[in-house]
């Protein structure tokens, strides 16, 4: 059963419920309550007549009995009023769950359409297939979040069904607060990821201590295990470089299609990311080839990816013209760059790791994106003072010079970034930078 099937099945579960039937039950309770009040009034008139006729002596017990009968009717009426309120509470909860389910279903349908579209109409070029594959992963990731949201919707509704059902059955009359229960629980999303990703549960069996973490939805602890984290990153298009002890990414990852932001708007918080990035004020490093009009964007990231994960990225994107409204594609073919990226401690100079183009297809080490993230349980990522330096090799000197000029411009415009750029050799054409923001 695909994630989409699960979303639709869950949505079905609440959508098939009937708010009308719950309304009917509430109405029936109130109608009976009115009848009981009529009976109570008739009992009262008997009591009044009896008390008027009674002048001392016998009859007191009869009056007390009548008062007790009246009170019983009152209790019954009150009980039915509470029952009516329970049915109305469930009705409201169902209506809300149905509304949420409809919205999630629509979101899922839109995602699925995107997925179908992604695979439709592409040729057999490897690049096209790669893009479709990447989109597939991105959509899957978003679908997991939708599933998590919908599970929260049904769990909340079930909690209300349980509480009101118990009230009806046992008349506990307790007031339960479900405040805040609709807030998305990121740990829960993590747990759903773990459940949905094939083979992950088997891995958790291998690491019993992580089962405990899963029970407590301790997302951070789960991600501290490189093997488990790799499984998750694999699902999202990442790859673990055992030799270097860092995560990198294939050329056909989620991000190659959607870019970072779309995915990490959803997942960033779950990963606990806190990154420095170029272009965050809207001024990006971009340059245009005067002959072709093709425009290029270079983006850098570094920082904390999770509590114990840190690293950096270099991304290179293209657009057919400068008038692109900020829309760029992952660089392909000749436009790709060869990057050797080093993440180091800018206070001590200690080098943590270097990615010399791992993750690229084939052996050319050319990529649109150089990513290196290390997961180290002994490190508190937010306490690190990370610097990033890299050498970038491009296809020709002209492109290198334009990239160099743009990086120098950017560095001057953003003195707080502490970005220094130097030209390297012309054969092959390279430049290097050091970014100590």
């Amino acid at each position: 059963m695909s994630v989409f099937d699960k979303i639709y099945a869950l949505a079905d579960q609440v959508e098939k419920g009937s708010t009308t039937e719950l309304d009917d039950r509430a109405r029936a309770c109130r109608a009976t309550k009115e009848m009981l009040e009529d009976t109570k009034a008739l009992l009262e008139s008997v009591r009044v007549q009896l008390s008027e006729g009674w002048h001392g002596g016998a009859g007191e017990a009869a009056l007390n009995s009548l008062a007790a009968f009246k009170k019983n009717r009152d209790d019954q009426a009150q009980d039915l009023e509470e029952s009516a309120k329970s049915f109305e509470t469930i009705r409201d909860a169902l209506a809300k769950a149905q509304q949420d389910a409809r919205s999630k279903r629509a979101d899922a349908q839109a995602l699925q359409k995107k997925l179908d579209h992604g695979w439709h109409g592409f040729g057999i070029r490897q690049v096209d297939l790669a893009v479709a594959w990447a989109q597939d992963k991105a959509v899957k990731a978003q679908a997991l979040v939708l599933l998590a949201d919908l599970e929260r919707v049904t769990t909340t509704y079930d909690a209300i069904l349980f509480i009101e059902g118990q009230k009806l059955r046992f008349k506990t009359g307790q007031v339960w607060e479900l405040a805040g229960s609709e807030k998305r629980n990121l740990a829960e999303i993590g747990a759903i990821l773990l459940r949905e990703i094939p083979g992950l549960l088997a891995l958790l069996k291998k690491y019993p201590e992580l089962r405990e973490a899963l029970l407590h939805q301790d997302w951070n602890k789960i991600m501290q295990n490189p093997e488990v984290a790799q499984k998750i990153y694999d699902y999202l298009g990442f790859r673990y470089n055992e030799e270097g002890g860092f995560f990198t990414t294939g050329e056909h990852s989620v991000q190659s299609y959607l870019g970072w932001k779309d995915l990490y708007d959803k997942f960033g918080e779950a990963f606990g990311m806190k990154l420095d990035e170029t272009g965050d004020d809207g001024d990006n490093m971009e340059f245009t080839d005067p002959e072709t009009g093709k425009t290029y964007r270079l983006e850098l990231w570094k920082g904390k990816y999770a509590n114990h994960a840190f690293g950096g990225e270099v991304g290179f994107y293209t657009s057919d013209s400068p008038n692109n409204n900020g829309h760029f594609n992952a660089a392909q073919g000749d436009d790709q760059i060869k990057v050797t990226q080093t993440i180091y401690d800018k206070d001590t100079g200690q080098v943590y790791f270097t990615n010399d183009g791992q993750g690229a297809d084939g052996t050319d080490k050319k990529h649109f994106w150089n990513l290196a993230i290390r997961n180290d349980p002994d490190v508190k990522a937010d306490q690190l003072h990370l610097g990033q330096r890299a050498t970038i090799e491009v296809r020709d000197v002209g492109m290198r010079d334009r990239m160099y000029d743009e990086m120098v411009r950017y560095a001057a415009a953003h003195p707080d970034d502490h970005l220094t750029v130097t030209k390297g050799s012309d054969h092959p054409p390279t430049l290097s930078y050091d970014w100590q923001k």
Binding site: D24, A28, S45, V46, A61, F69, D79, T154
Partner: protein, 102 residues
């Protein structure tokens, strides 16, 4: 006049009580609350609720019927000429009401 009138008034009030519409609950089987994990459990809760409330209403109706019957019986055996009749009437109500299950 005197207590005879009271007995007649009490009998009338009881008759009206007897003619009153017995409270019933028109709710039927468990409402369709969807098919989430708790739906089955809720249906069980609902069945218990419905059965106990119906029992409750039946018991209330029996109570009313017993009350009406007690008053009718006591009023029938009331003879205004008997000096002890008033006390006998009230005592009859005391003891018969007491026997009614609440």
């Amino acid at each position: 006049m005197g207590f005879e009138v009271d007995v007649a008034d009490i009998s009338n009030a009881a008759a009206k009580l007897g003619e009153g519409k017995p409270p019933t609950l028109s709710a039927e089987g468990s409402p369709n609350v969807g098919s989430t994990a708790r739906a089955g459990g809720f249906a069980g809760d609902y069945d218990v609720w419905l059965a106990t409330r119906k029992d409750d209403l039946d018991a209330a109706q029996q109570q009313v019927e017993s009350l009406v019957e007690s008053i009718r019986t006591a009023a029938k055996s009331y003879h205004g000429t008997d000096s002890e009749a008033r006390d006998a009437f009230l005592k009859a109500l005391d003891s018969s009401f007491e026997r009614i299950d609440r």
